[in-house]
Symmetry: C2
Subunit: 438 residues, 2 copies
């Protein structure tokens, strides 16, 4: 691992609270022992003992269940599987030491915010609408969210000159811009960024010395023929930029895709373009919660290294995957058609992720009624809708301004449920409009 030529993120410029604490149970002595263990593995007989006895951690799986090998070699091989999967996906190398396995993507995102944010003078570029984990985590770690707008009229695309002007304005106000969050495919918006758009983002972040925090959780959920998923790392490498020239962190999870194993809490982040000393600090920070759960670690490695042609499991796996993906698309189409047909509702194209994000044009008297209840119009509508047993998320949870006229609806309920839901939704909406039209 080597440094950026002019790295914006160094051990000196991360959140110094992370550097200040020590955590010896997973500290220097343990890593020294791991090197000895590797030495025994590679050159048997080279040391005067055959195995390491780990008396450092209160990990009772050492009770004769051979967990030590599992934690050491086992976990290493899981990270290798993930790195291999990334390399196969992108056509560019990935190294296991750049992979951190995590309990879902959320804990990885929180960890990176904790590393990057030193004070409220550190700004993070973040889309609006956004998944509120980002704004929440930025606020929680004491930073400043610097929003940039996605524009509904261009299919929730991103205008790089607007992002640039957000960055410049933020800098003029005294902020240091540390990173740019990009959610692709989009949540809640369901868009898939074009290659051109991604290239612009890479050029911009490289030039400005801004880390790309790439939410790539929905990389397997692309439903349009015209676009495909490209990781930001692939885009950067395709443009000829290596780890010395741009810093990218990619987040992924077992919760999405065609697998949807939320309850397993498996995930990884791939960290590219940071110095070894920063990686050490991230490792220490990760050690504070000991380790992600093993089942989730195994699952994310399987997600990234699925059965291949010729493997025994291949056919059933492909059939299941295909069935799930085509069912998801079918459900999305049904819901999209239903929303689009409602009075005063328009609905964006559905390209990826798992959400529709319809726009509501409510009658003025409905907006007044919401005001009277001191809630946003979207909350008012969504709350009324919930009285029919249908739960969606108010748009203002994703964007305090434009969200007031939106809500987010997953495409995930089973086909039969969606079929049953559509007439209920229609009846509710018609009654709602009738009530407030006059």
């Amino acid at each position: 691992m080597s440094y950026n030529k002019t790295p914006s993120i160094t051990a000196e410029t991360i959140n110094q609270k992370v550097r200040m604490f020590t955590y010896e149970p997973c500290g220097g002595i343990v890593r020294h022992a791991q090197r000895l263990e590797q030495e025994i593995y590679e050159n048997p007989g080279s040391l005067p003992f055959q195995e390491i006895i780990y008396c450092n951690l209160g990990n009772p799986q050492a009770l004769g269940q051979r967990p030590i090998k599992f934690f050491r070699e086992g976990v290493r091989s899981l990270r290798e599987a993930v790195a291999d999967g990334i390399a196969a996906r992108d056509g560019f190398p990935s190294i296991p030491d750049s992979i951190f396995l995590t309990d879902g993507a959320s804990s990885a995102i929180n960890m990176m915010m904790q590393i990057l944010i030193r004070s409220h003078e550190d700004g993070i570029l973040c889309p609006l609408p956004e998944y509120p984990l980002y704004s929440g985590s930025i606020i929680l770690h004491g930073g400043t969210m610097v929003p940039y707008n996605l524009t509904e009229d261009s299919g929730w695309g991103l205008e790089i000159f607007e992002v640039k002007s957000c960055l410049e304005e933020a800098r003029a106000s005294g902020l240091t811009i540390r990173a740019m969050v990009v959610i692709n495919p989009g949540n809640p918006t369901g868009q898939v960024l074009s290659m051109t758009n991604q290239e612009e983002i890479v050029e911009f972040c490289r030039k400005e010395g801004v880390v790309i925090l790439a939410d790539e959780l929905y990389q397997e959920n692309v439903y349009t023929e015209n676009k495909r998923f490209n990781s930001f790392k692939k885009v950067a490498r395709s443009l000829g930029y290596d780890h010395k020239e741009i810093s990218i962190v990619s987040f992924h999870s077992v919760s999405m895709g065609y697998y949807g194993e939320c309850g397993r809490r498996g995930g990884y982040m791939e960290i590219c373009g940071f110095g070894a000393d920063v990686i050490d600090e991230i490792y220490k920070l990760a050690s504070l919660t000991i380790s992600p759960n093993i089942a989730g670690q195994i699952l994310i490695s399987l997600v990234m290294d699925p059965p291949k042609l010729g493997d025994g499991a291949f056919e059933i796996f492909m059939a299941e995957k295909e069935e799930t993906c085509s069912s998801l698309l079918k459900r999305a189409k049904t819901l999209h058609k239903a929303f689009s047909s409602l009075e005063g509702v328009s609905c964006n194209k559905f390209e990826g992720a798992m959400y529709l994000y319809p726009r509501l044009q409510l009658p003025p008297s409905a907006i007044k009624a919401a005001e009277k209840e001191r809630v946003n119009p979207d909350v008012f509508y969504v709350h009324r809708l919930s009285a029919t047993g249908i739960v969606v998320v108010p748009g203002s949870g994703f964007d305090p301004v434009s969200g007031k006229s939106h809500f987010r609806c997953t495409i995930l309920p089973g086909e039969d449920k969606i079929t049953a839901m559509v007439p209920r939704l229609r009846a509710f909406h018609e009654a709602f409009m009738d009530e407030f039209r006059s």
Copy 2:
């Protein structure tokens, strides 16, 4: 849930960064829907629909696997099992709504530090030696650690008048003392607090309005006939103090005990004596990482609600538990005897937890050699020891001062490994002492 009469921890006095963010995907509308669902469950037919369709979260287990019921009713019943187990253990009631299931105890501890700490002017009383998750988490969240000493000569007991003077000194310097961490049974020290000592702590924290953060991870690891584990909540209730009079958070985990399932990342915290608005903020903070892993949630409920006399699994379960516990004790005794017999090494009594914390009196020339290498004497010794394949943790990782003459060793390697380790340890130590004695 009701408030302390003069609660030190209210929604107004927690870390305001937690209050500042919103997280709608798990927000008000969802809790409203959950109330509707409860209504359907309790009074079937009372609402014009039979089930809630959750279109709010991108949780694809809704893909026909009936996960919604599991997440809602299932998880409720897991928390009920934990609460029942606590009630059975303590003889005092515990309510499911006070239980937060977590990915191991570490994430729960981090979450509470994040809630309690507003700035570096907030102090947390913390023992020395301590498990460095505490100091790490306090620093990470921007607070000030206020150490109190455990004294080796009294078997790592705690003198309440000393804690009081630490608190007063800290207050005089402008700090607000928010909480007191107590690790019982102790890590790294292996002591079990006496009932009298626990009562003093409860009286002290109640009087001073200080939250008790009770690390009760080793509650099943008590090996002495003379003492037993008592939760701080039980001690407080036995003294007649209810949730209005004292705030206690108890942490537990599947990683310790006779089960030792570290890799599962299961845990809970029981939160007593906080207002409902504080609980709401903790719920929101917990939602930022979505949920703990399901397997870990199930496991912690089983840990707290193990097979009972008459259950089919009871006999095998008891036999396994007994076998593990007696083997742990045997290993502890072997190691204790070995350490105690070494020149210049003394070793504390082993009462509980999973650690021995021997004291090293190294020859002056060894200390000089350490100085020359610019490391603490404990690190110097431990590093040398690791060259024999035995890994322990330097004491300075638990206490920067007294730790320089200690190291922590788990009792967890299998009996055969411990038997093999003792002569290696002895040979190393003798050679080490010979080298530096002159």
